[in-house]
Subunit: 347 residues, 2 copies
DNA sequence: TCAGAATTGAGGTACGTGCCTCATGACTTT
DNA sequence: AAAGTCATGAGGCACGTACCTCAATTCTGA
């Protein structure tokens, strides 16, 4: 009574036998090589489906001479979160190497569509199996993504999606839900109601707009006692945000809460600490970084919503591996959760 | 000017050459086979360190005939969270198979040390490369862990650690921090102060005690206006917890908050919904599950702290792979974060 | 019908490791 | 010194896939 008779996974040999063709033909179909008649390819595809065959990624990678190459395009300069992403990639580089994956990072000018598009266009399929991009929605980039895809480079979006493009996968959080969460927390923090200011980086950024939408929705629905001030734009800049918050605090001495849904947190904290305990609104910001950590510890910031860059990079790598080797079908990854951090659960 | 001269990773062949021994000897050392003089083994070890060699897990797994077998021992019945863990294992089973890992689950009587110890003792090293256990601290289990380790089975603890044992790794959250977070949130929810009740499953469970400690610490330090009622014990039971909460609400009509740090959430929600809007304290519970989700949606529960069973299982599998194949050195895994969920960021 | 092109088959080597056998040499015991 | 034990080397096969070559077959068009 041997119940561990779990059958072997199907191999290319099994597929060849089942399709009634040779191993070489199966190989041609699997790797998109030319010289196979449509009818024959059909037989092979059918056998693949029938046997539930899926290529063994480990064996596949071992058989290829070169490593799997993944290039991350990450915006430069604008805010600390992007640095966290780059650092997360760097942290994974060594361990990934032992999985035969070679990660590299290119920092590009933030919000400079031309620079990212040029970077994508310059990619040689032999030097890059998969490109991971953090981008805003621009026709220029959409075209570059489609072109790269045609050249055989799998493109994946990170943090912010690019709907309508040929990108194979998206990794990121639900920013509308993030905005709703911020409103929900502020509402509970301020049972007596009051004025709540919202600061965005730019109202031209998709993720910032999403957060604003979610925030407004919950405020209107659940907390009519809270009144919105803004949204104001700090352009994700330290100095500009600091001036903005300072003015806010002097204009509204009775301000109950602040939601900074963009970057520029160093300025936010500086402005808050400048007024000391005289005015201390409940404050919610985005992304764990040095300034937001400091703000949490000093009490200037109450809650930080975080999209866990390490988790995003981990899932991006997993997806890249599956994408570059898999037949290009749909890829499933673990969802990225919105982390909520107070001073007491800082990681 | 070819700058991609990243040198190959060292292989067993390189190690053999560097140590001046044959491949067979390197293999004997690497896989702990007998028949190698101490002096010779030393030479090999030295070469391994010098070359920074680390075994290619994929090739290694491919070369072995059998899959890597991981057995999860998960308590049965007591609370919904354990079911989530089991489901997470089930969800990973298929994908893991394509990584040559065979996962299986054994449900054991909750808090029955004898049953878990017997299960561990019965493990045959040929049927199990790594055992993952969820357990309380008992001498009996400690002995069983050490025995299994001697037989060549790597043991890992999940959710709750077993210090002093031969377990190779622990996956779980910081429960003291979880308790601190609960207090910090309740404190912010209740700026006017008031009475806060704490319900535990049992004061004999290590993780529950840790949460209680963290909760008390922050309450005492930061929120002197909040007064603790309890802790009470609901034994992670639906009916018992429901009766407990009902009595609590009638005894303390002015109750401001409830922190349920154990299970039995179905009873908690039922008791809260029974009194309707007449009394509606701020409520924090643990672990996302059907009852806590329902509670969040209905407004009976404000916040749920969650330890992300899927993430824990993911990390456990990664660690098991490294443990069972690696030389048994220290394993690094991503930390498990404490998730904070409101109705607005339910995943 | 026959040249030329397109398609398919057969079989090899390689990737890095595990695991096996057999032979050789060195060292120990009686 | 003979017999035995232990340590080591040499080499091969296997895992599942990629990628290559060369021949054999089928198809196409004039």
């Amino acid at each position: 009574m041997n119940e561990e008779a779990t059958r072997r996974r199907a191999t290319v040999h099994d597929v060849a036998k089942a399709a009634g063709v040779s191993l070489a033909t199966v190989d041609r179909v699997l790797n998109g090589r030319s010289g196979v008649r449509a009818a024959t390819a059909e037989k092979v595809e059918e056998a693949i489906v029938r046997l539930g065959f899926s290529r063994d990624l480990n064996a596949s990678l071992m058989a290829r001479a070169r490593d799997l190459k993944v290039v991350f395009f990450i915006p430069d300069g604008s805010n600390e979160f992007m640095d966290s992403l780059a650092e997360a990639v760097a942290r994974r580089s060594m361990p990934a190497l032992s999985d035969r994956m070679h990660l590299s990072t290119r920092r590009i000018r933030a919000l400079d569509a031309g620079s990212l598009a040029a970077g994508l266009d310059a990619l040689d399929p032999r030097d890059c199996d998969c490109a991971v991009i953090v981008t805003s929605e621009e026709p220029e980039i959409l075209a570059a993504v489609d072109s790269a895809t045609r050249r055989g480079i799998a493109v994946m979006t990170l943090v912010s999606d690019l709907p309508g493009s040929a990108r194979k996968h998206f990794i990121g959080v639900d920013n509308v839900a993030a905005g709703r969460t911020a409103a929900s927390l502020l509402g509970r923090f301020l049972p007596q109601g009051g004025k709540v200011a919202v600061i965005a980086g730019s109202l031209h950024l998709r993720d910032h707009l999403d957060r604003l939408d979610g925030f407004r929705e919950v405020l209107a629905r659940d907390f009519p006692a809270l009144h919105l001030v803004g949204p104001l734009e700090g352009h994700d800049e330290r100095v500009e945000t600091q001036a903005l918050v300072a003015k806010l605090l002097s204009d509204y001495p009775d301000l109950s809460g602040i939601y900074n849904l963009g970057a520029g947190n160093m300025g936010l904290v500086a402005a808050l600490e400048a007024v000391g305990n005289k005015i201390s609104p409940r404050v919610i910001a985005h992304e764990l970084s040095a300034p937001t950590r400091a703000g949490l510890m000093s009490g200037a910031i109450d809650v930080v919503l975080d999209q866990n860059p390490d988790g995003e990079i981990r899932e991006a790598i997993t997806a890249a591996r599956a994408l570059a080797l898999g037949a290009g079908r749909h890829i499933a990854t673990d969802p990225i959760e919105i982390g909520i951090f107070l001073r007491d659960n800082l990681r």
